[in-house]
Symmetry: C3
Subunit: 467 residues, 3 copies
Amino acid sequence: MHLNPDRFFDSDPEIRSLARELYGSVKNLPIISPHGHVEAKILAEDLPFPNPTAMFILPDHYIYRLLYSQGIALESLGIATFDGTPVETDHRKIWQIFADNYYLFAGTPTSLWLTHELIEVFGVNEKLNSKNAMAIYDHLQNQLQKPEFRPRALYERFNIEVLTSTDGAADSLEYHRQLRESGWKGRVIPCFRPDALVNITESGWRQEIEALSRAVGFEVNTYQKFIEAIENRREFFKSMDAVSTDQGIESAYAHRLSLKDAEAIFQRALIGRADAEDNRQFTANMIMEMARMSVVDGLVMQIHIGSKRNHHQRNYRRFGLNTGADIPITSEFTVNLQELLNEYGDDPRLTLVVFTLDETTYARELAPLAGYYPAMKLGAAWWFHDSIQGMIRFREMVTETAGFYNTVGFTDDTRSFPSIPARHDLCRRVDANFLAGLTVRHIIERDEAQVLIKALAYDLAKKTYKL
Amino acid sequence: MHLNPDRFFDSDPEIRSLARELYGSVKNLPIISPHGHVEAKILAEDLPFPNPTAMFILPDHYIYRLLYSQGIALESLGIATFDGTPVETDHRKIWQIFADNYYLFAGTPTSLWLTHELIEVFGVNEKLNSKNAMAIYDHLQNQLQKPEFRPRALYERFNIEVLTSTDGAADSLEYHRQLRESGWKGRVIPCFRPDALVNITESGWRQEIEALSRAVGFEVNTYQKFIEAIENRREFFKSMDAVSTDQGIESAYAHRLSLKDAEAIFQRALIGRADAEDNRQFTANMIMEMARMSVVDGLVMQIHIGSKRNHHQRNYRRFGLNTGADIPITSEFTVNLQELLNEYGDDPRLTLVVFTLDETTYARELAPLAGYYPAMKLGAAWWFHDSIQGMIRFREMVTETAGFYNTVGFTDDTRSFPSIPARHDLCRRVDANFLAGLTVRHIIERDEAQVLIKALAYDLAKKTYKL
Amino acid sequence: MHLNPDRFFDSDPEIRSLARELYGSVKNLPIISPHGHVEAKILAEDLPFPNPTAMFILPDHYIYRLLYSQGIALESLGIATFDGTPVETDHRKIWQIFADNYYLFAGTPTSLWLTHELIEVFGVNEKLNSKNAMAIYDHLQNQLQKPEFRPRALYERFNIEVLTSTDGAADSLEYHRQLRESGWKGRVIPCFRPDALVNITESGWRQEIEALSRAVGFEVNTYQKFIEAIENRREFFKSMDAVSTDQGIESAYAHRLSLKDAEAIFQRALIGRADAEDNRQFTANMIMEMARMSVVDGLVMQIHIGSKRNHHQRNYRRFGLNTGADIPITSEFTVNLQELLNEYGDDPRLTLVVFTLDETTYARELAPLAGYYPAMKLGAAWWFHDSIQGMIRFREMVTETAGFYNTVGFTDDTRSFPSIPARHDLCRRVDANFLAGLTVRHIIERDEAQVLIKALAYDLAKKTYKL
């Protein structure tokens, strides 16, 4: 098993050769990861990853959701439960199941990332299968004990320039502080994500408000105090080097409530009487408020739209959030974002990066909007679309209307630390190939392609996120 | 006129040569046709097809709808009417019109299937046109009289392993019985389709209930008896070798009604007072019930979503159902199927195969759902999308999220018997080319492609439908 | 800088060489422009274009919207305001801004059209950039003073056979009359666009009714007189060589109101009391009425669906209509057009050409409808989709269901006169390449491709619009 140097490039010799050249010019650029879910804790503590299963499988719902789809119980894969259901704890057994079913991943980006990780990061030279599963497990386990496989060493080997975590609004950012005080040169910055405070009908919302109260040092018992607390926490995040916020929201609907209406909903929420429509209106209002705050404090505003979370409710009760059961729904931006864009869309102080799970909005809504409103930029092909065809569709449907410069480079959004270089490498290859395809058809010129590949791989992310 | 051995393959030499090899490994595999509309009667009676027009044109709305779209009256094409309007009965005249307008089919799969049929099945060696129309008609007519062009002979020549018909719930399956008793070795199995019993607002519904009552031997005058009758008929179909059910439904909305509500709607339907909302709720309930029954009896459950039937109402009154006037509408699966998937989606006894006419749901909803829920699988690109580009879009939008193993192989769904091998051949070629494209870009490996082409051409259908 | 003769063709040698041949057979065919926004006045007066900025930038929101999206104020680009806000009047300064930011257009069709125009029409041989901006400005300015760069000379050089303008219902068509009386051989015909009369809730609607009253010579104070006036104006347009009408409408919803209801809405509109639902119903009714009138007078009916106009309301108040702030929304045709198609869809006297901004409707709704209803044809990939990938998606999603002959050739829809040959040339190249791709994969035959390229480039437009 080896990584073909021309992988993911078109087989046409003209395109392939130019893609190789363009990719070659950026393959060694540092990685900017402006949004993701690797925890700062990992780098702050810098402990060895305990074993291959804990490193590759347990944090990565891309992997276990596909195994589950073929009838393999999540319990047998060791996914932790909240309801006391026992789960497999023998990590070797879990790895064996994974290896036995590795063929299921053919054609998915997960298989491409894993292949990259196993070969490039861990020096595995055979394709994982039932027979070699334990030998590869042992090899990986052995590597993981070495100092050069500790998180910070990997961070450096991966050539990461900035790594952004995602953190709740009330988070102490203790690990970020530790990292900063450690003298280590890696740059691991937080991103402010207030979702748990915005979802007023979630069961844990009251506790989140209490955590927020503790974090700000006053009781958050009115809407105005809530807003003040959010502003306060944004300032704190900014003081801890945050450059951005993020909201994961089902709908892009943005609408400012009157203070009176917002307060009334907030009070209903406090006594557990807010309903779904309250939640919808409160969320719409908070999108407006987050934009207003970004205008003031300069944090880049990100919104991720269109996932129906926790689709399988029994599994949600058993396994909790973020276990692969979030399913996309139709999204709408033209009408939903109109109020926000009318109010802030031409404000030079705002950068609004929009991500979607509904590709039908690329050409119809997002590219036309981003190709008009100065504040709005398009986030990369995201989540289920962080894939070769997903990226190609993104570029093909966005570029002709919005150009390249209203997009913001690649976002890995990963929970799997060792997948970071694999994901960025794949994107750089796909972008190089896309630009090569445009060049050989004389849609762009060679010198433009050379500038653009660098913009897509590095410059645009750095500029958009003010890094 | 000949069939180029590399047809439908990419012109890139690397892809073409590998596609040729992959296709070569499956081109002679038997055909499994797990869903379609060729009637068992044809094979039970094994009579010669009367003439080329009756064989190619009259049963195939793919053909006459396109002629109609260019202003050719359906009456002039001999499409039977229900309202007494006279239609052309001279089959040679109809064939001449078809030949005169054959150029209209350029770029459509219909033209590719017809070319395959005319050359491969009937030994025609000129492209149909105005001048040779009658000569080709005569040639075909001559062939059709020969024993080797009778239905069973063709079935054998086509190398069909299983052919599935689609049959109403009250159908006696008389022709299936005849076939079974004939000693002929062909395997022609029924599929249970209860649509006419589910559409409670259709004008013929009362008669369907009466037919059902006769079939089960008791009066179906309550909802509970209705359910009992459906279960009873499913058992009968199963005893007649059925392995699956099918429902063609406008919306995927699934929702269980209380027994009381279901009964109330059923009683309103019996007295002709059910309205559109009753129909919607009753249908949603029947999707749930069909899933429940499949869990019990093991029949594979298929749902075909998103066609607005009989769009042209005047033509519907004149020509009836299934005459090319069914037009797709937007579909939704994430919300609509949630209740069903929450209840049965992880039940190992259920296989739910979902077909859509709304390609926007492939990447957004269907692949994420099928890549999570163990019971759910994705049916092939269907109907208007049973075409080269349709299949490519399906694979490109589905594979990266759901892999190949959550899809079920090819479904021809045809009403035209001689089109079966043409349709399967086209799909095998497109799949071979798709896999070749992945391989030359090093997205999958050659040995994976070799396994996958067989899975897509044969294994997955056999496994999914338990054949 | 030069125009590569193989631009926009696939790099595969087989496809490229056939594309070159097919394109070669149509590149010199006359241009039929059946729909656009170049004003007849330009050709009637035949004055020199005042300067490069006025020619290229000021009329073309494709250009300035993208500059605006990157934070360049519309005022600094000289876009005229309605509210007295001062704007840049130094056209050289504006040109310099344009040149400084020309790199933003990489990958957009605008850059391809401009390159074509600068090289082919104006003999510029360097790529526009900050340094050569003024030199190129001077060169262009110099050219524009020459007789061979006057509008009629360019019209002739562009080899235009028919150019269609778009004109309000009350327009006097004075410039069309001048052109006709001038003895000049160019054919510049009007198209009847009644939008301003149909949008009963627009602020200017009363004045439009007054203008209509003056144009027809009687007071339009009832719905019946309104209809009579529309019919009257259509007759006038027809007498001035119009062959078509056009309506730009947010939704395709078509529904006939009773005379009583229509009259009631009309009377509410006259006293300024019509609301959004009135507008929706009145518009739906007018789609039906326009179809009815087309059946009578034979004008080809065009509808352009799915743009939410004037999304940025502050900019709308300042800069007015058609300044790049129209953003597409989801569209629906299957249900919305059912009443219209049931009533007129099989009437041989009607030609209904449908344009969409929602590409998801191509394969799902529009191709199935156009592949069935004789009256309905599909307009070309439009506006944001008038681009290489936009055209490819159109052909790929439409052809397999509707064939080529239910489409109508290319519509440039441009406001920029010198872009006309560039836009038609690009489309001819993309179509040639598409047909070459089908041919090398043996989906169509070479002789079919040769006929089809001429159909797409010329014949279909001529036939559809009865030119």
